[in-house]
């Protein structure tokens, strides 16, 4: 019960959080704090290697359950989501003070947090997909926090389209996986790992699921949405891009790593794309001056590292994944928040224009330095241990030299980024800034301070996090219990040499940062031919195709819609009728009777419609057809239908009467001869087809099963003698509910269109 309750608690509190947050109260952080504490309470059980499973009935008819699973991996994510959420909520209460749309912001970010928790706790593939898509939708709203800005809208849309397209691929993969494993339960799937990996469909599953994860985790070439999402307010960037949104792809791959870890395609795909992303992110990070974008590209590097590590089989890789994941979440959230403080206090986040801020913001400078240490992978921070693990894993892997070379370059780039963000802005000579900065208040500093201190604390005392969290999580990724002791100092190893080399490379590059940066920024081919431009071209192409299609099928003339609809409909029916030999004639015995008068009346009034010269006579003639049909119903023993038909006809005439005064009144038919012939053809064809279909229906013997049932069941079960109404309100009440909803929505939609027309004509007449 506890996991379902926690997730639903987070969802249910969203409006409440919105209300508190709307007043910029720092107490808004209590909600994520409560969740964090709840997960901490569950920690001891998981640390001992336990797994919390719970299953609730949801859609049993198709084997989908609301199942949740808490093991080391999901607990690590849940703690990061709620813990960093706590810091971000508190920070935003000061950072966004006085902004409009605060209620909206807090409501959505809470929904986002709840969706993230749901996604990492779900033990059912379908449930996972549902929460996964919820994170896409809520992050779309978060990135588009200022919808009046064009850039904001574009970034939100880009993030949405990329992650949702990935989500669709993932859905396909999940369905395949579910059918191969014959269950949607993740726990059961993990138990059938070898069987699934050996299935001929496994490559398809791997590609589809990896596509979803790559889109979510911004792997090259799908990385540009992450950097563009930096238009969002800093708390959003800090939250989405450190611990949550982009890590969901990492979570998904880590979750299924036990199933596919030895599959050659899985290894090639993940290490290949991971390494490519690391290089792409490194290059892009070196070109930027905007602090947030620099951090965003370094996030892409880290995500690439994580994906690559997941791709490498083995226990060591699993430990490296978890350690790096925690390290990255801690320092990246911290540095994003610091970048936000700099932006908030100085009015700029252009790193080339900032310097000497330590004089104004000593505390912020110290926090940034601590975060930067972890990012650069220097002792005594836990970042050092994580980096050593990455190198160790790379060295142990097959074709490890290539991965290590990539990691070396990427880590050197990280050193540069860390120095740019944490050192460059604060050291050196004072530079003039748009505002005179000073250290911000408690709410904005508390989060970064705690995150930075944790990075150092875990480095000095690795056992704090090693046994309780990293080992259980790594066991979940490896698929079997593992033993490992996390330590900061490994002795004099090849990894240490690599670390020193990284540092030398990084410091060397940082010293020449200005030159390197302007050289790299000068490569305009990246801007002109990069995936971001490609995305723009794709969107423009998509729009022109849809404009063309819309022009083809929506010319805007009601007459041509009716004509096309009737033509296609009757052609389809006619061809089917002839080809399948369904054409049949009933017996015409007993057809000469008083009913014949009605038939003649129908023919005459139909001809009158066709001959009508203007709207008024047309309306009257069409009304005549309608009333005659009603008469026919009446004489054929369907008084209800006749009654309805009468009412509809009367009402239609009244409405037409109201409308006709506003229509262009033409006394003559404006169609030319050719158009009249075409209309005659369509109308005649439709009439003939309808007649043939009706005759064929009449030729069949009458099947009375349904009417017999309703006649028998109506009074005892529904207490009514009027079959039509009993069917409408009782037997098929759900259909009726749907129909009245459609009717109401159609009226409201028509009202919206008509209101627009009215306004347009009112403005024109002014």
């Amino acid at each position: 019960m506890i996991l379902l309750a926690l997730v639903m608690f987070a969802f249910a509190l969203a409006p409440f959080v919105g209300a508190i947050g709307g007043r910029s109260s720092p107490f808004v952080a209590i909600i994520p704090l409560l969740l964090f504490v709840a997960f901490c309470v569950l920690l001891p059980e998981i640390a001992e290697g336990g797994t919390l499973l719970e299953t609730h009935r949801w859609i049993p008819s198709i084997g989908i359950a609301a199942a949740f699973r808490l093991d080391g991996l999901s607990l690590t994510f849940a703690l990061l989501i709620s813990g960093i959420g706590c810091a971000v909520f508190l920070y935003a209460s000061a950072y966004l003070r006085g902004e409009p749309r605060l209620v909206r912001f807090y409501t959505i970010i809470t929904l986002f947090m709840a969706s993230m928790l749901g996604a990492v706790l779900a033990d059912d593939l379908v449930l996972l997909v549902v929460f996964w898509e919820l994170t896409s939708i809520t992050s779309f709203l978060l990135i588009g926090h200022t919808p009046e800005q064009e850039r904001s809208r574009r970034s939100a849309q880009q993030g949405f389209l990329v992650t949702v397209a990935g989500g669709l691929a993932m859905l396909a993969g999940v369905i395949l996986l579910g059918s191969v494993a014959d269950t949607f339960s993740i726990t059961e799937i993990l138990g059938k790992g070898e069987m699934i990996a050996a299935d001929p469909l496994a490559p398809a599953i791997i590609i589809l699921i990896a596509a979803g994860a790559f889109a979510k985790s911004a792997q090259a070439p799908l990385h540009s949405w992450l950097a563009n999402a930096m238009v969002a307010p800093t708390p959003v960037s800090a939250y989405l891009h450190s611990a949550t949104m982009v890590k969901l792809g990492v979570y998904l791959l880590a979750r299924f790593d036990p199933v596919f870890s030895d599959h050659a395609l899985w290894i090639a795909l993940l290490t290949g794309f991971g390494a490519a992303t690391m290089l792409t992110g490194s290059v892009l990070a070196m070109r930027e001056t905007d602090l947030k974008r620099v951090l965003a590209y370094s996030t892409i590097v880290s995500l690439g590292t994580l994906i690559m590590l997941i791709g490498i089989p083995g226990e060591l890789a699993a430990v490296a994944v978890v350690t790096f994941l925690i390290v990255h979440a801690l320092y990246k959230a911290c540095l994003f928040l610091v970048a936000g403080i700099i932006d908030h206090e100085t009015g700029t986040r252009d790193s080339s224009a900032l310097g000497g801020m330590r004089h104004f913001m000593p505390i912020t400078a110290a926090v940034a330095l601590m975060g930067g240490l972890s990012m650069a992978g220097l002792p005594p921070s836990i970042g050092f241990a994580a980096k050593e693990l990455v190198y160790e894993t790379g060295l142990a892997a097959s074709a490890g030299w290539a991965l290590v070379a990539v990691a070396l370059l990427a880590n050197a780039a990280m050193v540069v980024v860390a120095a740019v963000v944490a050192v460059r802005c604060f050291s050196g000579d004072l530079s003039a800034t748009p505002k005179t900065p000073h250290d911000p208040g408690f709410a904005m500093l508390a989060g970064p301070i705690v995150l930075a201190l944790l990075g150092l604390l875990f480095g000095i005392a690795p056992w704090l996090v090693g046994n309780g969290l990293i080992v259980p999580a790594a066991s979940a990724i490896a698929g079997e219990p593992i033993t490992f002791t996390l330590s900061l100092w490994h002795g004099f190893t090849p990894m240490l040499a690599l670390s020193v080399l990284t540092l030398v490379l990084g410091v060397f590059a940082y010293r020449r940062w200005s030159t390197i940066r302007s050289r790299m920024a000068g490569i305009h081919q990246i801007d002109d031919w990069g995936p971001d431009k490609l995305y723009d071209r794709l969107i423009i192409g998509l729009q022109s195709v849809s404009t063309w299609v819309t022009h083809q099928i929506q010319p805007g003339s009601l007459r041509s819609y009716v004509a096309r609809t009737l033509f296609i409909m009757s052609l389809a029916a006619f061809v089917t009728l002839i080809l399948r030999g369904g054409y049949e004639l009933p017996s015409f015995a007993n057809s000469l009777g008083p009913d014949l008068v009605i038939a003649i009346l129908l023919i005459v009034s139909s001809l009158a419609v066709a001959r009508a010269r203007n709207f008024v006579s047309g309306i009257v003639a069409a009304g005549m057809v309608g009333f005659t049909v009603a008469l026919l119903f009446l004489f054929q023993g369907a008084p209800d239908l006749a009654f309805t038909q009468f009412s509809v006809e009367a009402l239609a005439i009244i409405i037409m009467l109201a409308i006709v005064g506003r229509m262009p009144f033409r006394d003559r038919d404006s169609r030319i001869h050719k158009e009249r012939l075409r209309d005659l053809f369509i109308a005649g064809g439709t009439g003939v087809t309808a007649a043939l279909v009706l005759l064929a229906v009449l030729a069949q013997p009458f099947d009375g099963r349904l009417s017999d049932f309703f006649r028998a069941a109506s009074v005892p079960e529904a207490h009514g003698r009027n079959l039509v109404n009993v069917i409408l309100v009782d037997f098929r009440a759900l259909d009726t509910l749907g129909e009245i909803t459609v009717l109401g929505l159609a009226a409201i939609a028509a009202a919206a269109v008509l209101a627009g027309l009215r306004r347009a004509t009112a403005e024109k007449s002014k």
Binding site: V648, L657, V729, T736, G744, A747, I748, A751, L754
Partner: protein
């Protein structure tokens, strides 16, 4: 459309149509009629009343936006299905609480249909009326 004939006759038509529509609505379960037909009749009566008098007169007479009727109707129809959920039966299984009196949740449902039909027709019509 300021027609004296329509203005005068509609004074008679409106109450007659409304009373008749309620009658048709109520008898619907056993005799020809029901919420849909009742709604159409009422809407026709109100339309005849509103066409010569204009939009403002329509809103003054209804006292609510016609759109509100749509929402209220759909809500009623949904509410009529709620008791069945409480009794853990399929949604919209209608209940007949009184053994002797033929009144059940179907009536609530039918009133919902009635309101949606009136609301839809008048929502649409109101944009063609003069101000």
């Amino acid at each position: 459309m300021n027609s004296i004939i329509l203005q005068t006759t509609s004074r008679l038509i409106l109450p007659a149509a409304l009373v008749f529509s309620v009658y048709v609505l109520l008898r619907g379960h056993n005799e020809p009629g029901g919420g849909f037909i009742g709604g159409l009749i009422a809407a026709a009566g109100i339309a005849v009343h509103a066409i010569p008098r204009g939009r403002t007169a329509l809103f003054a007479m209804l006292r609510v936006w016609p759109k509100t009727l749509i929402g209220a109707g759909i809500l009623l129809a949904i509410i009529s299905g709620m008791p069945s959920l409480l009794l853990s039966e399929p949604f919209l299984t209608h209940q007949w609480p009184f053994a002797s009196l033929p009144i059940g949740t179907t009536l609530v449902f039918d009133v919902g249909v009635y309101l949606v039909v009136i609301g839809s027709v008048l929502t649409f019509l109101s944009y063609y009326l003069e101000r």
